[in-house]
């Protein structure tokens, strides 16, 4: 069969770099990388059948070329820059439904099926994909490859916990199935779950069977605002310890899209889902717990009102970005606080690529301290973090960008620095690198998205390789012996 689908090599060929257009002299790093420039002009393969996809991989395996698996291209590129790349391999055109029997609460779909199309299909049956039910951008394959943690992870787990079986194409072009579409299955090794979070480096997901969840009749989202993160996190702990079964307990410290222009404040978010009696009975208990934590403000969103906020929480990297951009787009509020007025960097309307998104995975016990340390380090580097923490899961996502808000004069970093020197992309890169290259970096910290200049070294993206890295290398070689699939993208250059 033909190796390369000529129709695939379209559109993306010579799109001019937007960075070039406005960069000026002080943005050297990103575009100096030959890889970055080349990646934009790589041919894009969009096979229409699993066999055609396998044919592309087989050919690349034979020729020693490297492919970059992709879905709809809606997520920022993850992992390190690939060591080699000859073409994108998108599953966009593989977007069919293979099998759906609502009574089984499972569905089998092709990897390119957009999550919003999937939800359209499930809604009439009052079902949903619990792994990421609210933020419906991207495809099933992208969700699996990224291993993203959705809003309901506390209650329903991530896509890892709902992936029942898969058809995958590995690095030599072999199409294989493992597991199936039943909810319990211990026949053979769990190849599907191995692909979750593999960033396309172990195989291309062709088809996935997923466990579904019933859509709840009612939902209620309690939002409580606190003066500082410590108190918000302590309140979250109290909620987790109470006799409650929340679907979500998050602390969000980001701009409030209902109050554009206001600085980020920590908000505790608690979601209940289920029948009316279950939701309202638990709300009553929750409020008794929260009153003791003395929040500054208290609001309640019900049913469809919860959706805008839940969309941000469901896909935290994007959600935090959306919230930050909404804030940045808003007219600046006059700073009336006498202690901070005039001390913040004026006019730091930083470029879109001056953003670093990190994910921190610790345990519920160690998260608050680790998060505080990371926020301190961020401030010390002259940067500002908006963040989403999941205290019950010990995880957090941080969006780090140049500071745009007033800094108290007591802060470790002299605010005058930004005023003295014009803020450039290089300033940002240097600050971000300081943060990432700090000694003693924990293996639970990884970069979710960053400018290309920060993604050249896997060590910087993922930190030191985990103890089982050698074992992971053995798995990579077994499933992609000639490193055809996204070579070098994962931890330690896997």
């Amino acid at each position: 069969m033909s190796a390369v689908d000529p129709r695939g090599t379209s559109a993306h060929g010579s799109a001019p770099s937007s960075a070039h257009a406005h960069a000026g002299d002080d943005v050297p790093a990103r575009d100096a990388l030959p890889d970055a420039a080349r990646m934009r002009s790589l041919p894009r393969l969009e096979p229409r059948t699993p066999d055609a996809l396998a044919g592309h991989v087989r050919a690349a395996h034979a020729d020693g070329r490297a492919l970059l698996p992709a879905g709809l291209g809606t997520r920022a590129p993850r992992g390190a820059l690939p060591a080699r790349a000859d073409a994108w391999l998108s599953t966009r055109a593989l977007d069919g439904v293979v099998h759906y029997e609502p009574g089984d609460l499972t569905i089998s779909v092709q990897a390119g099926l957009p999550l919003d199309a999937l939800d359209e299909l499930l809604r009439p049956h009052r079902q949903r994909l619990a792994a990421q039910p609210f933020a419906r951008t991207g495809s099933v394959g992208g969700l699996v490859a990224s291993g993203a943690e959705g809003a309901l992870a506390l209650r329903h787990g991530t896509v890892r916990d709902t992936l029942l079986g898969a058809r995958t194409c590995h690095g030599d072009g072999v199409l294989a199935r493992s597991k199936g579409r039943v909810v319990k299955n211990v026949a053979g090794y769990d190849v599907p779950r191995l692909l979750v979070g593999s960033l396309g480096t172990l195989g291309v997901l062709v088809e996935a069977s997923l466990r579904l969840a019933p859509r709840p009749a009612r939902s209620a989202l309690r939002v409580a605002t606190y003066p500082d993160a410590t108190r918000a996190l302590a309140a979250a702990r109290a909620v987790l310890d109470a006799a409650l079964e929340p679907a979500l307990v998050d602390v969000l410290c980001a701009a409030d899209d209902a109050r554009p222009g206001a600085p980020p404040v920590p908000r505790l978010l608690v979601l209940f889902e289920g029948g009316a009696a279950r939701v309202d009975g638990q709300l009553e208990r929750l409020d008794a717990v929260l009153r003791a934590s003395r929040p500054d403000a208290f609001e309640l969103l019900r049913d469809d009102e919860t959706l805008p906020l839940l969309r941000h929480l469901d896909d935290a990297p994007r959600g935090l970005d959306d919230l930050a951009r909404a804030r940045d787009a808003a007219p600046p509020e006059a700073d009336t606080n006498p202690t901070t007025a005039g001390s913040h960097a004026p006019g730091v309307a930083h470029a879109a690529h001056d953003v670093l998104v990190l994910r921190l995975q610790r345990t519920p016990r160690t998260l608050p301290e680790a998060l505080a340390a990371l926020r301190d380090a961020t401030a010390a580097a002259g940067l500002e973090a908006t963040w989403l923490a999941r205290p019950g899961l010990g995880s957090a996502t941080l969006r780090i960008a140049p500071r745009t808000h007033a800094v108290p004069a007591t802060n470790a970093v002299p605010a005058s620095r930004a005023a003295r020197d014009p803020y450039t992309h290089a300033t940002f890169l240097a600050a971000a690198a300081t943060l990432l290259d700090a000694p003693g970096r924990h293996s639970g910290l990884q970069v979710l998205s960053a400018p290309d200049a920060l993604r050249a070294d896997p060590l910087r993206v993922f930190g030191p390789p985990p103890p089982a890295w050698r074992l992971m290398g053995a798995v990579k070689r077994a499933l992609d012996p000639r490193a055809v699939l996204a070579p070098g993208v994962h931890v330690g250059g896997l």
């Binding site: 009574g103 890892r160 995958t168 199936g180 039943v182 979070g197 009696a277 519920p364 992971m472």
Partner: protein
């Protein structure tokens, strides 16, 4: 003095390290370790050793690797697929002495355990913090967490709370070459926890495991409903799920079991009861009454002859007795039973049970069904009295035929018992040669020597180039 053979020298070195009593080579005592909970798959190990910690396991494994002696880890021996039998003249590493609960962390809600800790002991250790360990295989009073990890064990309550792989957060692995490595713990990289959980001890030996604990539900209510047919009970099951209710457990017992329970223990069920459905709901008190009312209405609408609710531990224990004593009751009406572990999409339950009855009738066998209806995980028990070869063969063939029907209906060979030796060759009915070759490659990558629990899970020849010759042939 006759010169001692290499294996004896190896065992001597283990005895020097562990103490003579920790190395069993006496044929009489070895018989205890020849099989597991399944009656069909015995193999006498050459020796059994009892390591005390990770360093012991690593030393033994390294020595075995050097001497090219196959080895297999074993917990309580309650497996049902022959997975812990020592083939190829191998030795058994019995992990029973590694039975310490190393830590229970009530804030992180985790327990760190040695592999020989009994499943039930985890929940017992967690109880003082109001926590429990969710996977609860029927053998939970005896079986070990090491075995649970090997088999990705389930149990009646996995419908709501998930199976072992959903609860393992980190583990210490002795690789087949004796290297010790820590896996998981939230570190980035590939999900090796998922690969190792359910790998049936073929990729290394787990010597420590950190599991997630859940909060004990505030309230638990158990319902027992009797139906006049298994079809009606199946439809009631589907109706509950379709209504968006996810019970903690949804278990079914068929007419044969009902009869056995009556005969063996004098259980009383309404006349005409041909199937029992056990539904357990757990969670917070608010909303529980409504959920129970919804479930009860659905069960009645779908023909429940009677409905009994248990609201406290004593009443609940009584209802669960029917489920838990089912296998015991079968033991009283037949000398032997052989249980299978097929899985099907839940909506195919009535069709599948009809096929099971057909297989049994054609082969002149009695089959009783006790199973996790909510998961579509069947446990057909083939009852038989004489243990002559002809009967045994008939029983085994019936089991294989039933599993083939499961595969035909879009299901799987095993939901929680594992492949082991028993279903190794039947894997070709479920998977194509390429599917198995990918699994074989993973196995070769993690155990290049092939000494770690050899000849389990994958059909012989998988990945050796002979695979395509196997094809999708029928089982047996």
């Amino acid at each position: 003095m006759t010169p001692r053979d290499p294996l004896d020298r190896l065992l001597d070195s283990f005895a020097a390290r562990l103490g003579a009593e920790a190395v069993v080579r006496d044929a009489g005592r070895l018989h205890v370790y020849a099989g597991d909970g399944s009656p069909m798959h015995d193999a006498l190990p050459r020796a059994v050793v009892f390591p005390r910690d990770t360093a012991d396991v690593a030393a033994i494994v390294r020595a075995c690797a050097d001497a090219r002696v196959p080895f297999v880890a074993r917990g309580a021996g309650t497996g049902l697929s022959g997975g812990a039998t020592a083939l190829d003249g191998g030795i058994v590493l019995a992990l029973n002495r590694m039975d310490r609960v190393l830590a229970v962390d009530p804030v992180d809600r985790t327990a760190t355990l040695e592999p020989g800790v009994r499943n039930l002991a985890v929940s017992e250790a967690a109880a003082e913090h109001g926590l429990f360990y969710a996977p609860d295989p029927s053998s939970q009073a005896v079986c070990t967490v090491g075995g649970n990890v090997a088999h990705n064990s389930g149990g009646p309550h996995t419908l709501k709370h998930g199976v072992t792989v959903n609860h393992v957060l980190g583990l210490t692995l002795v690789q087949p070459d004796g290297h010790v490595v820590r896996v998981g713990d939230g570190a980035c990289g590939y999900d090796l926890l998922a690969l190792l959980t359910g790998s049936e001890g073929t990729l290394g030996i787990v010597t420590e495991v950190t599991v997630r604990l859940l909060r004990r539900p505030e309230t638990v209510v158990t319902l027992l409903a009797a139906f006049d047919s298994i079809e009606a009970a199946s439809e009631a099951t589907s109706a509950v799920i379709a209504a968006g209710i996810v019970p903690a457990a949804l278990e079914m017992l068929d007419a044969e079991v009902v009869t056995a329970l009556r005969a063996a223990f004098g259980f009383e069920f309404p006349g005409g009861a041909q199937a029992l459905l056990l539904v357990e709901c757990d969670g917070v008190l608010p909303g529980m009454d409504e959920e129970l009312a919804d479930v009860s209405t659905l069960l009645r609408e779908h023909g429940a002859l009677s409905l009994r609710a248990a609201h406290d531990d004593a009443e609940r224990a009584e209802i669960w007795t029917a489920r838990k004593k089912a296998f015991g009751a079968l033991g009283r009406i037949a000398r032997h039973y052989y249980t299978q572990d097929g899985v099907i999409p839940r909506t195919r339950l009535p069709e599948m049970l009809r096929r099971v009855r057909e297989v049994a009738a054609r082969r002149g066998l009695r089959v009783a069904n006790v199973f996790h209806a909510g998961d579509g995980n069947l446990h057909p028990c083939i009852l038989f009295d004489s243990d002559d070869d002809k009967t045994k063969r008939n029983v085994l063939e019936a089991g294989a035929e039933i599993l083939r029907h499961c595969v035909e209906l879009g299901g799987s060979l095993t939901g929680e018992h594992g492949v082991g030796v028993e279903k190794r060759e039947w894997m070709s009915t479920l998977y194509a040669p390429d599917d198995l070759a990918v699994m074989a490659r993973l196995r070769d990558a993690l155990d290049p020597s092939g000494l770690c629990n050899p000849k389990k899970v994958l059909p012989l020849g998988a990945g050796c180039g002979e695979l395509s010759a196997l094809g999708r042939r029928a089982a047996l």
